[in-house]
Symmetry: C2
Subunit: 240 residues, 2 copies
């Protein structure tokens, strides 16, 4: 229940608080400039200190908001000398635009998501209908389609190659995309004919799944993502 005009008789208008806030927009006028905590003796009462802490807290809140606004202004080109509403408006446009572009790219590109996953698929299963043993007699070539999506890290490639080699599989085709610290891979894996006749399809797929899950969804002992903000990007490429 205080009247500002009453305060302004007591508070010195000399010091400029705004100069202590480097994130403030230059447009900000130097108004109501006074040193906080510099209250007249007659206001050192209980309600006065409550009111002071309230206004100080409110100033901190305003400063937090304005600081974010200021960093947003740096991120958006030509947003200097826009007012707050216009700035936020172009932020909205920017976010929509960027979102549209990235989803547009994701549609046609093999783009990693935020969800860890591993899938295994038997590509030539349909043409080999019937029992497993029978199908092998018809066509001994085995092609597995495997995909994974997980956090990216430097050791991932060698781990993958070791895992694939250990299952006596060879890579026919690979499409690997690393983006924003995440990585997604799609592999076409072949089992040679003479190996294929000795192996149980079901347990091979099971083993592959176990091995890939161990690589992809492992408890993140490697905190690569935290250590390095550097992001890698690979075009769809051959992976020998």
């Amino acid at each position: 229940m205080m009247d500002n005009s009453f305060y302004s008789e007591y508070w010195p208008q000399t010091t400029d608080l705004n100069q202590d806030s480097p994130f403030l927009h230059p447009q900000v006028p130097n108004i109501n400039s006074f040193q906080l905590h510099n209250y007249p003796e007659s206001f050192q009462g209980e309600t006065a200190s409550a009111s002071r802490s309230h206004s100080e807290a409110e100033k901190r809140r305003r400063d937090r908001i304005n600081a974010q606004l200021s960093t947003l202004r740096k991120l958006i080109p030509t947003s200097e000398k826009m007012d707050k509403a216009a700035l936020l408006g172009s932020v909205v446009d920017h976010v929509k635009d960027l979102k549209g572009k990235t989803t547009e790219i994701s549609k046609v590109l093999n783009t990693p998501t935020d969800i860890d996953e591993v899938t295994i698929e038997h590509l030539n299963e349909e043409e080999n209908k019937g029992s497993a043993s029978e199908s092998k007699r018809k066509d001994n070539s085995v092609i597995l389609k495997a995909s994974f999506c997980c956090d990216d890290r430097p050791e991932l490639f060698s781990e993958l190659q070791r895992a694939i080699k250990s299952l006596k599989l060879t890579v026919a085709e690979a499409d690997i995309t690393s983006l924003g610290g995440r990585i997604k891979g799609i592999f076409l894996l072949c089992l040679s004919e003479n190996s294929a006749k000795d192996v149980c399809m079901h347990s091979l797929k099971q083993s592959l799944r176990v091995v890939l899950c161990g690589i992809a969804i492992s408890p993140s002992t490697s905190n690569y993502r935290i250590k390095s903000k550097r992001q890698r990007f690979f075009l769809p490429a051959q992976f020998s």
Copy 2:
């Protein structure tokens, strides 16, 4: 110089203004609820009406800002029940993240920019050093690298093909990317040997430039971008 406590004796606290602002965050408390324009008779003076229009304008300003904040909240997942500063903070993160991803992609992909441009380059110029006539005797094959970047529109492809055909050029390779209503193309264009011996390289390049500029930097009679927000994306592909 008015004391709120003084007003609050006069202003009815019954009607809820916040319910008229559908974009307000649900967290907003129903405070200072009163009907604007409902001033006591004693305040119908000149300064009172100025003050009223001021406070009304200020409310409109706040509403504009909060409306943008509200649409931002819809764009950012899990931003419900964040306060304003936190919301803006995650908007900052989001923008940085999206920007990083798109620039990362642009680095390896042939991504269109916002600037219209056409470039023509003579690829095998270096190996054919010397005068133009001499170079043709050494190697009659002519390869031009042409690129353009402009607003995308449906007719662009056929226009391009017609233009290239009219210059008796054939497309050896094409990398075309359409993204966010913009399109960028890079072409390797061949001139057959028997055509090459009749043609002046300089005027061919000039003609190609003129034709491409006519397509790319034409006064935008087609307002495709406004008519359709639909965006196309093409992977690097052959263009026969």
